[in-house]
């Protein structure tokens, strides 16, 4: 009997630790480190993509998705125009560097500041309205930003070509691979990118687990109740939007280095839509969900493109090629289908939720066998 009691007590202690996030304290930072350490060898493996630099692109998008999830996952707000903030970061860095000859870091900080101010102001105008308004109005603002960049006012944004061939002085490229060269040292750009990524993702995670972040969760869970117990939901939404925008802009700054400039595609509806698809498919409910979504999405996309280029030498058999080309367009169609189904069945769970419940089920079964 006493053994029973001590077991329930220890189970309760474990539950407590799970519930108040004490375990996360180690799980998330270690998980992020492991991600950065293992991503590149996996991506670079010859049986997979065989192209290590693609890990850079994945990390940039992962940061973008993590920033977006502050809004969607933790606050329950959907932005259809988040590419706008990615663009502010990328354009800010590229414009400062090329048009005003500012140091890269200064340009980057300006880009982040612009993103923060714009996000705050847009938030002030639209946060007090319902979530549908929020989604559609962010879309409208993003569309306006795209339009302005495309018009190339004052020759700042470079119109539809964007700003190309931009790199900070401390980045060198050699056969398509970027290196950071500082004070006599030279190391792969991936390590700096990885360090910035881990720090930024940790900052996002800390925001989410802080008392501020818990208030966001309360707003997400039940806005009406949150207001009734004294939470100023509007201000939390505005600040959530601001933080989310700033971190998206940071992803944009990294994008500018990674892509050697800024392209108009950052501001398109497609970019904003992709990040929604990746985040929801990955699982907005979890910190690692959106990151998993980015990985699966970009990996499959790249893998499929690889598939088609592999077939290209067989151009003398046109039938084969057409079939595969068709498969590619259908892939997007079925992706949409998968997305619709996952939204209808379990909108917040996604692949990561599936993965976790799989692990949980396995754990339960193992324990069941032991008992």
């Amino acid at each position: 009997m006493s053994g029973d009691a001590s077991q329930t007590e220890s189970t309760q202690r474990l539950r407590d630790a799970l519930a108040d996030g004490r375990l996360e304290q180690w799980r998330v930072p270690l998980g992020l480190l492991a991600l950065v350490v293992f991503l590149r060898p996996v991506i670079g493996h010859e049986f997979l993509l065989n192209y290590p630099p693609f890990a850079n692109t994945i990390l940039v998008w992962m940061l973008f998705a993590a920033s977006f999830n502050v809004l969607l996952g933790y606050t329950g707000l959907l932005s259809f125009g988040h590419g706008m903030f990615l663009g502010f970061g990328a354009y800010g860095a590229a414009i400062g560097l090329t048009r005003f000859d500012l140091p890269f870091t200064v340009s980057a900080v300006i880009g982040l500041a612009v993103a923060a101010v714009v996000a705050y102001l847009i938030g002030r105008i639209i946060a007090q309205r319902g979530e549908i308004y929020f989604a559609m109005l962010t879309l409208a603002f993003a569309k306006a930003a795209h339009f302005i960049a495309n018009q190339n006012y004052g020759g700042l944004t470079g119109g539809s070509t964007g700003i190309v061939g931009v790199l900070p002085s401390w980045i060198e490229t050699e056969r398509g691979v970027k290196y950071v060269a500082a004070g006599g040292f030279q190391f792969d750009w991936y390590y700096l990118l990885g360090a910035v990524f881990v720090l930024a993702a940790l900052a996002i995670w800390q925001i989410a687990r802080s008392p501020f972040g818990r208030s966001l969760v309360a707003v997400r869970e039940n806005e009406e109740l949150a207001r009734a117990v004294g939470i100023d939901d509007k201000r939390y939404k505005i600040w959530s939007f601001t933080f989310s925008g700033v971190f998206a802009a940071l992803a944009g700054v990294l994008y500018a280095i990674n892509n050697q400039g800024s392209s108009l595609s950052t501001l398109t509806v497609e970019t904003s839509g992709d990040i929604i698809l990746m985040t929801v498919l990955g699982g907005a409910n979890y910190f690692f969900g959106p990151l998993a979504g980015v990985f699966v999405w970009l990996f499959s996309e790249e893998f499929l493109i690889e598939f088609e280029t592999l077939v290209l030498p067989l151009a003398e058999y046109p039938l084969v090629r057409i079939e595969l080309g068709g498969l590619l367009s259908y892939w997007q169609f079925f992706l949409g289908l998968l997305f619709v189904i996952s939204v209808l069945v379990a909108p917040r769970e996604g692949l990561w939720g599936l993965f976790r419940s799989g692990i949980g089920g396995l754990y339960d079964r193992v324990r069941g066998v032991r008992e």
Binding site: D20, Q25, F212, S215, V217, L225, V229, G230
Partner: protein, 263 residues
């Protein structure tokens, strides 16, 4: 108008409405409701379905803007005050339907509210582990309503009665001086109803609360209340002691008669 009201308001009255009116389109849900709740009393609101009881709560707490009239709380005109400010002044409510943070643990439901009560409507507190802050204080509220054993259960997985108790714990965690309870025993069996009534009684003594209660169970209302206000079709029919209300002919005709017919 307001002059007479000012003189009429005595120090004992902590919550008062004056000419409170709420219209939805052409429909009048509240018609010139005057209500005075005295400090420390348990004041019940009764009336048939659609009498405007919940609308009255919603306009008092600021979830709805009244079409006309004034709400006074602690001698202050709070009619225009933002809803989220009122809990910080000591005006709290529980909901009729189970309004909870459904996907969060029982403890976290209460902890977030304690955090809000202690650190204000808004705060950019970005450091530390939010879920560890104010845990102990939140736990005390759970003990008070008898939910300490369920602290890690998700709110949506609680039994109906436990969800109602959690709702009360949430309202308590705002540290109120006046508590508006909207049908705290609805959907409960006789035993649970009596337990909840006893709990409310105990809380009121321990925490020095003023309670405004909407309740359907007439036994509970008659045994617990200091005073009763009867609403009918958005208007106040009478406000009096339980005994006097039972004797009141208007009330018998409009309400108790109607109830008998329903039964």
């Amino acid at each position: 108008m307001s002059d007479t009201a000012t003189t009429a308001r005595s120090a004992d009255v902590v919550l008062e409405t004056e000419g409170l009116t709420k219209q939805f389109g052409g429909l009048t849900a509240l018609e010139h409701v005057d209500l005075a709740v005295e400090r420390g009393e348990l004041h019940a609101i009764i009336g048939p379905n659609g009498a405007g009881k919940t609308t009255l709560f919603n306009t008092i707490t600021g979830a709805l803007d009244p079409t006309a009239g004034t709400v006074w709380f602690d001698g202050e005109d709070v009619t225009e005050m933002a809803q989220e400010k009122r809990p910080h002044r000591g005006l709290a409510r529980s909901f009729q339907s189970n309004q909870l943070f459904a996907d969060l643990s029982v403890l976290e439901n209460v902890r977030i509210v304690v955090q809000t009560a202690r650190s204000g409507r808004f705060g950019l507190d970005l450091l530390g582990n939010g879920r560890a802050k104010y845990r102990d204080a939140a736990f005390e509220y759970l003990e008070r309503v008898g939910l300490d054993g369920e602290r890690t259960t998700l709110a949506k997985n609680l039994s109906h009665g436990d969800q109602r108790r959690l709702g009360i714990a949430i309202s308590l965690a705002t540290d109120p001086s006046v508590l508006l309870l909207d049908e705290p025993t609805s959907g409960m069996g006789p035993t649970e109803t009596q337990e909840t009534a006893d709990m409310i009684d105990e809380l009121q003594q321990d925490l020095d609360l003023t309670v405004l209660l909407i309740e359907h169970d007439m036994d509970i209302v008659l045994s617990m209340s200091d005073r009763i206000t009867v609403l009918n079709q958005g208007e106040v029919l009478a406000t009096d002691s339980p005994g006097a209300i039972q004797e009141n002919e208007d009330v018998q005709n409009a309400y108790l008669g109607g109830m008998r017919e329903e039964l």
